[in-house]
Symmetry: C2
Subunit: 250 residues, 2 copies
């Protein structure tokens, strides 16, 4: 049986179903009225309300309110969960070792408890990352400018890691920084850091920010610093593989 579910379970049924879910490497999902305390890197309190609680077999622990993409509280993979019997309620507790973090959920009223023995051997194939932009340029340097020659990819230097380091047709050293989305001040600062580091050792160092667009502030700073911009949108091509996956959109 892949799924077990109990509506309005008693305390004993919660304990039973929860422990069976845990031991069978299932995803445990709980709909409950609860309050939540967290203490770790920060500290938080959440008063009573109805939430969806998900506990994954890898220790991930999610508490979702009825809005937003983000869980209101959580614990990352590797955390250890336990269910304790409090005075008048059950308490779910998840502990992370390093850094030490404790999440406690007071289960005031459990509306539903379920577990799901999910079988999943697939992982996501994503297209359009910054890495793919850099790969594309490394293979097709003329996308930057005629005569550009990439030399290093992911080149570690004193104060960071340069996406692509190369030379232009005049022998200038060129630092490329890629952004898959509109580049902001942060991106310019990053490029500037790499360029300044290279200039400690070399003359004639150019810095080019490669992105689909720039924020107004990024453009301002880029120009002030004498850095350059090259418009390029990340490719959404599938990486060449033997068996091509058909998509739902086909």
């Amino acid at each position: 049986m892949k799924v077990e579910v109990k509506l309005n379970p008693s305390k004993e049924e919660v304990i039973d179903l929860f422990s069976r879910g845990l031991s069978t490497e299932a995803i445990v999902t709980i709909f409950a009225r609860c309050n939540v305390s967290y203490d770790g890197r920060a500290k938080s309190e959440l008063g009573l309300g109805d939430r969806v609680i998900i506990i994954k077999p890898d220790g991930s622990f999610l508490i979702h309110q009825k809005e937003k993409r983000e869980p209101v509280n959580w614990q990352p993979p590797g955390s250890s969960v336990s269910l304790k019997i409090g005075e008048d309620k059950l308490i779910l507790r998840s502990v992370r070792r390093k850094p030490k973090e404790i999440l406690e959920v007071g289960l005031i009223d459990v509306y539903l408890l379920s577990y799901f023995q999910a079988e999943d051997y697939e992982s996501l194939a994503l297209m359009g990352s910054e890495a793919e932009m850099a790969d594309l340029v490394f293979e097709n340097p003329e996308l930057i400018e005629p005569g550009f020659k990439p030399i290093f990819k992911e080149k570690s230097i004193r104060h960071g890691i340069i996406d692509i380091l190369g030379k232009d047709k005049d022998g200038n050293i060129v630092v490329l920084e890629f952004k898959r989305r509109r580049a902001d001040l942060h991106a310019v600062s990053q490029l500037k850091r790499y360029v300044e580091t290279m200039r400690e050792e070399y003359k004639n160092v150019r810095g080019i920010l490669v992105a689909p667009s720039l924020t107004s502030g990024a453009k301002r700073l880029l120009e002030k610093e004498g850095l350059e911009f090259k418009k390029l949108t990340p490719p959404k091509k599938e990486k060449s593989r033997k068996g091509r996956q058909k998509t739902l959109f086909d």
Copy 2:
């Protein structure tokens, strides 16, 4: 009835329960074998497997595999969901308008479908943020050094926003940048950007990175740039309120 649930629902039952869940502003949760296609800012494909799907009344759409804190695919709040009848399967589709993004889930086998009319009027009270560090220093400037006088908080300048801008006992301008956790290269670059912007107009500008600690690289860059470090850990004090919330830890 707050919760409705159906094990191994038929197509018709999926359609019925799903639409009732949507119309009642409930959180809809589905355990299913599915495949997923996404196209928008990036593009992705996910082959067949068992996942937990959550659709919130604000349009948030989450697809969780059995590992990790992060959903493998998602749609943010404001997206519009619909359920279509495909040739041999149901297809869940969520559309975001701007930027245009489409998420499609092919429901091969629905093990469980439920909805949960969650009532929740509470929001998270979090302690230990960077903003609280800055507030603390604004109230207690001597935490930085004797004679420090904070003047502006969240001061917008040409290339960014300075956390705290003030003067030291000798009349030097002081830029403070706060990090609630170990500060890295990025943090130093950020501080350097603010300091350089201020130096366009003023002499004697100091920059101090205020954080619990520094990465090795951050320390290296900070020293090279003549910037300073002040160790400070974010406070986890509750903001003063009338009714103090008792925690589960009490």
